[in-house]
Amino acid sequence: MALLDVNDLRVRFETHHGTVRAVDGVSFSLDEGETLGLVGESGSGKSVTNLGIMGLVPSPPGVVEAGHVLLEGRDLVQMSDAQLRSVRGNEVSMIFQDPMTSLNPLLTVERQLTEVLELHRNMTRAEARRAAAKGLDEVGIPEPERRLEQYPHELSGGMRQRVMIAMGLLCEPKLLLADEPTTALDVTIQAQILELMKDLQERRGTAIILVTHDLGVVAGMADRVHVMYAGRLVETGPIGSLFKDPRHPYTRGLLQSVPRLTGDPDVPLSSIPGQPPDLAALPPGCSFAPRCSFVQPTCELDRPDLARLPSDEARSSACFENENLPAKADQ
């Protein structure tokens, strides 16, 4: 049995400008010890997918109309708030994308870290403090004892992010949802944090969903990748073959936009032309059609489903033209 099984997850926001379909039928499963990279357009629903799994979609305006989210067979969508809270503190944890909205500005770093431990682990205050200091040390924060006394605004952006990470790792979860965990970090500390996550994974068999726009990080960490566009998965597959020969036109555009140390710095970066779609007014056909250079008349009528590639059973893509695209992205 998979550790996590997400089936037809849908999350919409009812706003006064209409219904925003942030997550529009996402299904996947994840095994113990596996790392899934979740990448895609800004605003495509990556964070909301994670919030949906955690039962943390703000409501109102959010509405979860899920099939199910099974963690070791138990449906998180059906759980009571109390049950969910216990799952969140023990078995599943989330590193949020934005440290400033998820850290309490009025509490010291120590209080933020120890609260979880005292609550879920029945530690004494002193034990929790030691564990918290150790957690900060592991994420590369020097003089952790003194940092425990500080408030979030007294830390640098990257340190706040690392406090979040320490908090997410303290309870040694079975499932870790890491939403852009290293965006504010320099490459050296980023490498250290990724090692720490791998280490936890090896010790505990933790499964990780890693949301990041840093495709280099995905390349180094993930077993499989899911690419999201406009609330849906548009391409999935093992990291190696997917990055080598992306089949969905959006994935191709994305990979071509990566600035690399080996590229010519004076040539403007390639980007995907056009505007990201308005999730409150999606076109009836393929959501990528207005920006796609391979678009055909049929693309604007029907929406392509995520389907297995005949050439490779392990991969799927949601595009009518999969089989007709030129063999390799001309990067």
Binding site: H17, V39, G157, T183, G220, L261, L269, P276, D278
Partner: protein, 330 residues
Amino acid sequence: MSEAILEVRDLSKHFPMGKSGWRNSQQTWLKAVDGVSFDLHRGQTLGLVGESGCGKSTCARTIVGLYPPTSGSIRFEGNDLGSLSARGWAPYRRKIQMIFQDPFASLDPRQTVGSILTEPMAIHKLGKPRERRLRSMQLLEAVGLNPRHLYRYPHEFSGGQRQRIGIARALALEPEVIICDEPVSALDVSIQAQVINLLGELQERFNLAYLFIAHDLAVVRHICQRVAVMYLGRVVEVADRDTLFANPSHPYTRSLLSAVPDVDPEVESVRQRIVLRGDVPSPLTPPSGCTFHPRCPEREQVPGDRCSVEVPLLQGSGSGDQQRTCHLDT
């Protein structure tokens, strides 16, 4: 080279920390920025890179007047800003804008995007209300957001979308200098490319100067003409872009460049990273001599204990105007 629009000299920002010592009589200080100097030229971009916590944001915030400097000077077109009161700052507010690292914390949750963008224009009396609205729609389009989103609130946007609102806000006042603190790190690479290209176009059109803080060195290489590398509150190397990336001369810069991940999983699997040993030192108790010495992989090549005793000064090394702080032979 064109004239310097912003001259930063020996800038320091120290934060008071708790007391220590005999009867808590000793005030301790956290030296977040400790003697930083650089020039920013019109039409140019200076990159500022370095480890998390090395003082980049503090440097930025001090330059835009959010923190008073502990010492040193900041000159904008020859006028010393560091000594100005809040009121004295007013004429410069519009000319020096900042894009904040933390988009969530820097947008007022009770304001719609429209009023976030038009309010500064109204304060500085730019255009009529209708023109302001039109301009804010153009700005949204320019940063890859839907102009119809003018009436939405920040919480209705994703992380990357909020970051772009911050960029649009900084552009609204047609500034001369923009201090960009990790402006693209929350964006997916396609939109990142769009925003970087946009910043480049605007720079050419309006002769803008950018101080560009980022930890993504490939991005820095794309947008900056010069790059300064910070370590524990100080600049340890500064050089023009091509020199820095081809011939990094400070051991810290070398380790930084070796750690950049690549999108090619095959490249990734054979990459040789220079791993720094030892703990990241704390700015509360910085190491003696060269502050990088406890972690420096090349320290053995300097005879004796010079590295741990003598503070290396920023001086020319190798070609052109490359400078570094290191005792190694050039």
